[in-house]
């Protein structure tokens, strides 16, 4: 639980990657279906089918992107800052954002052309039955207007996917970007 009582920096933590040790092996049925879901989800976002993307989201969704901070010495690995975020979303705020994209959101009108590359997928069973921890690496190439130089972002995503009526739904996603100062002009795209 994040403590909002202070801006001081010792609230940083190291947590990333898988927490559960009950691994779901690569190539298993569950692994394959989750991987397929990640690919389908990336395609929905790249093709700007936001209604299709929202259909992957659970109503109790938590969707956050903490800050990264350059640290040294004994704190050098405590570089994920959860007091401040780039995204701090719930299901309602995601609907607000996708709804906006359908109207006068000049940041994405004309839209960016994006490719989301999802790799290094690791899966484990969470403590709740039917829920899986899915950790993936994300690399996004974003082509904006007629600029020949793409903007890019790399991140780790720590997800919880939940099996609902035979399909996997996203219950939680934490996007741990690698840059402390982002080289991307805005996050008008989802990660």
């Amino acid at each position: 639980m994040v403590n909002y009582a202070t801006a001081a920096i010792d609230k940083t933590s190291v947590l990333r990657g898988l927490v559960s040790t009950k691994r779901v092996p690569l190539g298993s049925e569950v692994y394959n279906r989750l991987l397929e879901t990640l690919y389908d989800e990336a395609a929905a976002l790249d093709e700007r089918r936001f209604d299709d993307w929202v259909a992957y989201l659970e109503q109790d969704l938590s969707y956050t992107a903490p800050l990264r901070l350059t640290r040294n010495g004994p704190n050098k690995d405590r570089d994920v800052v959860r007091t401040m975020k780039h995204f701090d979303e719930n299901y309602g705020s995601i609907l607000m954002r996708t709804g906006r994209l359908a109207k006068s959101a000049w940041a994405e009108d004309p839209p960016s052309r994006t490719r989301r590359f999802v790799t290094n997928v690791r899966v484990a069973e969470s403590e709740t039955a039917g829920e899986y921890e899915v950790v993936s690496y994300l690399y996004v190439e974003r082509s904006r207007l007629d600029n020949p130089d793409n903007e890019t972002i790399s991140a780790e995503r720590r997800d919880i996917w939940r099996l609902v009526d035979g399909a996997y739904k996203l219950a939680s996603r934490e996007i741990i970007v690698d840059q402390s100062t982002l080289g991307m002009s805005n996050f008008a795209i989802f990660l």
Partner: protein
């Protein structure tokens, strides 16, 4: 007053050619000019006060954060006595960064290159192998400290300057009456809710800089989605008739600080159908507390501000604006569908990183005495509307680089930016605060005042 200023670029272009004070026009060339940029570093950024952070980021002795004063990297640290220091993060030995982390706690900063060490107040401790005196014998230890900037705390905000003469009071001028209402209104003041969001945009710092001179007009068009979302009242269809949020009192001071004050009664009408008529200051504050203030904090306003200041907060609070040269203020209402706290408090600095790059630094606040759930809501409100992913500022971040790109064209850069929709100074009846006031529909007056502050600094050799 209208004499040719002491600035001529190598091709003979003068400051008066670039900023036409008779026509209220600015050449687009200023948005991408290397020579001008170098002069700005000296005449603007080394001369004014610059915002670096907030003391709540470094509460304990030894706490530090790394920040930038334009392109100069600095350490902002708190020493054993609690005093805050700002100093160049440049080792006087060989120029390496003395501190390599963005934040942390250290009572001494030891350069990793040759080990020269410095206290949290910047003073030189020594070089390794004391008996060999590796700092030489030509300069005393007193001369070998990190170069220090002057520091001033205002409402806990950490400002610093390289200017030896400019007092902070003179820098604020008449803006203090209004800014106190935002930064100095509660017993324990503001608190930064976490380290700043930072991202880099391919544009000159003056593009966001002049916009933060209270460009109210662009809200209606660039931020049209606010109207569509119903956040400003009315609908997308009615915005050009009703122009919600466009009326109020804009103000500027000669130092280049500007604010937009919006009538609470108008704002309130957007949320609820209750009249402000005949209500006392206190009743009005309870009906619609200013952004970031909860009902429990209202008594503190009366304690920390003058009666006139509280009255303004209740009736026509300052909400957006800027402090010269590169600070944006957004202390805004942010209605939530879940009925949560309706405020977002953000400050940005637009830190120059070359003529064609700017770092957008987004500081997010709440009142320290606000309840935890309110802080949580306010953090979310600010993330949703400002900074990296904010739905308002996404649009700005995509627009500014396109202006920048245009400023490179041989013909395009001769185009002038027009600041000719001017209201002129007019003091509304009963208005107490100082500065130049522009009541009514938001116009170009405040942004022109920003350019005049820029002109005056750049003209002074």
């Amino acid at each position: 007053m209208l004499h040719n200023a002491g600035l001529t670029l190598s091709d003979g272009t003068t400051l008066d050619d670039l900023i036409n004070r008779d026509m209220n026009e600015v050449s687009l060339r200023v948005m991408n000019d290397k020579e001008l940029y170098e002069l700005e570093m000296e005449r603007v950024f080394a001369r004014t006060w610059l915002l670096l952070g907030h003391e709540s980021e470094i509460p304990k002795a030894g706490d530090y954060v790394m920040r930038d004063m334009a392109e100069d990297n600095v350490i902002v640290s708190r020493d054993r006595s609690g005093e805050i220091h700002v100093m160049l993060n440049v080792c006087p030995h060989r120029g390496m960064k003395v501190c390599t982390a963005e934040a942390g706690n250290a009572h001494a900063h030891r350069c990793i290159y040759h080990g020269w060490a410095f206290r949290a107040d910047g003073s030189f401790i020594g070089a390794p192998i004391e008996k060999e005196q590796m700092h030489g014998n030509k300069r005393s230890k007193d001369e070998l400290g990190l170069k220090k900037a002057r520091v001033h705390l205002y409402g806990g905000l950490i400002f610093a300057t390289w200017n030896k003469d400019l007092s902070f009071e003179d820098y604020l001028g008449d803006a203090k009456f209004y800014l106190d209402q935002l930064f100095c209104r509660t017993d324990n003041g503001l608190e930064m809710l976490g380290p700043p969001q930072r991202f880099v945009l391919p544009c000159n710092w003056k593009i966001p800089g002049e916009q933060s001179g209270s460009d109210g007009f662009h809200t209606l068009t660039l931020h049209r989605s606010l109207m569509e979302g119903g956040i400003m009242g009315g609908t997308a269809e009615s915005i050009y008739d009703t122009a919600p949020g466009m009326y109020g009192v804009d103000l500027s001071v000669p130092q280049g600080h500007t604010l937009r004050c919006l009538e609470a009664a108008q704002t309130f009408k957007m949320f609820a159908d209750v009249s402000f008529e005949g209500k006392s200051t206190e009743e009005r504050l309870h009906l619609l507390p200013p952004p970031g203030i909860t009902k429990e904090l209202i008594p503190q306003l009366f304690k920390n501000l003058s009666e006139d200041q509280v009255k303004q907060l209740a009736n026509i609070p300052p909400q957006v604006g800027g402090m010269f040269p590169n600070i944006l203020i957004a202390f805004i209402f942010a209605p939530r569908t879940d009925g949560g706290a309706s405020g977002a408090l953000s400050l940005h600095t637009y830190v120059p990183k070359g003529p064609d790059k700017v770092e957008f630094v987004n500081f997010i606040f709440a009142e320290k005495d606000a309840p935890e759930d309110v802080k949580r809501d306010m953090l979310q409100n600010a993330i949703w509307s400002t900074g990296t992913s904010g739905t308002i500022e996404q649009d700005d971040a995509d627009t500014w680089p396109q202006i920048m790109r245009n400023s490179r064209g041989h013909m395009s850069k001769t185009v002038t930016l027009k600041y000719q929709a001017l209201h002129g100074h007019e003091r509304p009846e009963g208005w107490v605060g100082g500065g130049d006031l522009y009541p009514g529909f938001t116009k170009d007056d405040t942004q022109w005042a920003w350019w005049m502050a820029y002109y005056n600094l750049m003209a002074e050799a």
